[in-house]
């Protein structure tokens, strides 16, 4: 294979880029709403909150780990914002700060347990997932007597918080939610960190082979813990966005989403074995998800087709990733 072509194929996000173009073309040709500025703003919305999580989850996967508690943590942080603000009667920003500290603590605990015990992160974060699921329901009922926390918009500080987390920006005549801008910013930031900083080099190395990484002086443990904390911080950002945007939070928020984040990251070229992947790819994976989720109803198809479609994309992605890995790693073994 000639050099430039070979190099392109080893780009993790290539498959997701092709996939995104094909999916866009597929829906855009058939649905005028889908390709209108308003339609685009509509499908960018689910892509954005998913994308913020997928980027963080992709970093963690490149670093060699999974976080099954990432979805429920969105709920935990959203509920914390709501309960601290409305039940404990704090300024909304205080509530948001408390939720951030809580998220970072949970992320730290996940990372610390994984690095200390050497157990698969899959099982450690499954335990965290279950515990948080129980706590979310139990504490919400304890505080509110129901399974919902509401009235977040009546709390002092809501105006500024709404501007940061839930405002709309006019782009080409369409009202785009500010989360889309945050998503683009986080994708760019994560890409820069991965490819242009020492920490990014350590992430790839820790995920590729943590023993080898430690042997050449990479602080592999600290890198892993930092990645779990990053995922938790992303969950906090999305949880806060949901709490501020919806002004009320259900106790089961986020449950089940953790697998969707992983699906987006894998469609974006992340290897399940770690050490390879990209933040842009994960964002493209989220974009495919958003386009499909809204494109299917635009075509007046049954919504059930959505999951079939997503599964097929995932299968295609893992098959393509397998080829990449075989090429890049085993070519000269």
């Amino acid at each position: 294979m000639p050099g430039p072509l070979r190099r392109l194929l080893v780009k993790p996000e290539l498959g997701a880029l092709v996939g995104a173009v094909v999916v866009f073309a597929f829906f855009a040709v058939q649905s005028e709403t889908f390709r209108s500025p308003r339609g685009i703003a509509n499908w960018l919305d689910p892509a954005s909150t998913l994308g913020i999580m997928a980027v963080a989850v992709a970093l963690l996967m490149i670093g060699g780990h999974f976080d099954l508690s990432a979805g429920v943590m969105v709920g935990t942080t959203a509920l914390t914002v709501g309960i601290v603000a409305t039940e404990l009667r704090q300024n909304l920003w205080v509530a948001i700060g408390v939720a951030l500290l809580l998220a970072l603590a949970i992320g730290f605990l996940n990372g610390w347990l994984v690095t200390r015990t050497g157990l698969p992160s899959f099982i450690i974060t499954l335990a965290t997932f279950l515990m948080l699921q129980g706590l979310n329901l139990g504490l919400t009922k304890l505080f509110t007597g129901t399974v919902t926390v509401g009235g977040i918009d009546d709390v002092p500080g809501y105006g500024a918080a709404e501007w940061v987390f839930a405002s709309r920006v006019s782009v080409f005549g369409a009202e785009v939610r500010v989360a889309v801008l945050w998503w683009l910013l986080f994708t760019a930031l994560a890409t820069w960190v991965l490819l242009r900083t020492r920490f990014g080099n350590w992430v790839f190395a820790t995920g590729g082979d943590d023993v080898a990484a430690r042997n050449v002086g990479v602080p592999a443990r600290r890198t892993t813990i930092a990645l779990f904390m990053t995922t938790a911080a992303a969950a906090w950002f999305v949880g806060t966005t949901l709490a501020v945007r919806l002004t009320s939070v259900q106790a089961n928020t986020g449950i089940g989403q953790e697998l969707i984040y992983i699906v987006a990251a894998v469609i974006g070229g992340c290897l399940l074995t770690g050490g390879f992947g990209s933040a842009i790819g994960a964002s493209l994976g989220a974009l495919i998800f958003g386009m499909t989720q809204l494109g299917i109803p635009y075509l007046r198809w049954d919504a059930d087709w959505f999951y079939f479609f997503l599964g097929a994309m995932l299968l295609l992605a893992v098959l393509a990733n397998r080829l990449v890995r075989r090429y890049a790693e085993a070519a000269r073994r």
């Binding site: 050099g3 190099r7 080893v10 820069w192 242009r196 900083t197 020492r198 990014g200 080099n201 350590w202 790839f204 190395a205 590729g208 082979d209 023993v211 080898a212 990484a213 430690r214 042997n215 050449v216 002086g217 990479v218 602080p219 050490g275 390879f276 890995r325 890049a328 790693e329 085993a330 070519a331 000269r332 073994r333």
Partner: protein, 275 residues
């Protein structure tokens, strides 16, 4: 705990100067397996200490104690005469001990230049804009490999696509580049052809001449003898002795390494039956 190196001691100071690295009665267990017991050895600046022994003799375990991967369970490791116990490879690296591990410690999916500087990335910019100076990293990588006679077409190539010998050369070039005071090489020539093995041995000699203390691990007494100043022979985790070059000749070393009598028995066994 790390002891940072003081000023570089002058080379080959006779007699009284403390050796760069010294092992005293070092032992290391893996669970119930005694991998090393009662090992003493010295590494002096400007000298090559060769560690020889059969498969499973404990050579790699010994260098893992020196490079901070494992802690000794018994005995002492001294750096410049002061006891040290490295808690991690990072601490050993900071003390100026660079190691080429037998498995090379490289990440197959990462580019050559990223592997070369892994854990010691050069940076530019300040504060939040501090970033990996990739242009410099690529440049240095290409230069250092060219100096070793390895012509890298593309430093962006993943290490996993290199041949075994090329990979070994990259690992050695990396350690030589960062090895400030002690350079440890675990079977650096095992995957190399005659020409590249020669290049590596010449590198060892150059490092020695610059005043670096070298620890060279090998199966091959023909590689060890010409560059070595002292020879530590291991057998099943125990030392068969540490010899200066004047105390032992090449044949004696070979015989000792293979377990003496065992080799003679083997030679006998392999002889054609005289019928």
């Amino acid at each position: 705990m790390t002891t940072r190196p003081a000023a570089v001691p002058s080379r080959n100071e006779p007699g009284n100067a403390a050796p760069l690295l010294e092992l005293r009665d070092v032992g290391k267990d893996y669970g119930t397996v005694i991998a090393l017991d009662g090992i003493s050895a010295t590494v002096r600046a400007g000298e090559v200490t060769c560690v020889l022994g059969d498969n499973g003799a404990g050579k790699s375990t010994l260098i893992k104690v020196l490079s901070g991967v494992h802690r000794a369970d018994r005995g002492q490791v001294l750096l410049d005469g002061r006891p040290v116990a490295f808690g991690s490879p990072r601490e050993a690296l900071d003390a100026g001990i660079a190691t080429v591990f037998q498995d090379l410690a490289m990440i197959p999916l990462m580019a050559i230049w990223r592997n070369f500087f892994l854990g010691a990335e050069p940076t530019k910019g300040r504060g939040p804009f501090r970033r990996f100076d990739s242009a410099r990293a690529k440049d240095v990588t290409r230069r250092e490999l060219a100096a070793m006679g390895i012509d890298i077409r593309d430093p962006d190539q993943p290490v996993g696509t290199l041949s075994g010998g090329e990979r070994q050369s990259v690992a050695i070039a990396r350690a030589v580049h960062f090895g400030a005071r002690v350079l440890i090489l675990d079977e650096p020539t095992s995957a190399l052809g005659v020409k590249q093995a020669g290049v590596v041995l010449r590198y060892v000699a150059q490092a020695r001449d610059r005043g670096v203390g070298v620890v060279l691990i090998t199966h091959n007494p023909h590689h060890a003898y010409p560059v070595g100043d002292r020879f530590l022979v291991l057998n099943r985790g125990r030392s068969l002795g540490e010899f200066g070059k004047s105390d032992i000749d090449r044949d004696e070393l070979t015989r000792l390494m293979a377990g003496g009598a065992e080799l003679e028995a083997l030679a006998h066994e392999l002889e054609r039956p005289a019928d």
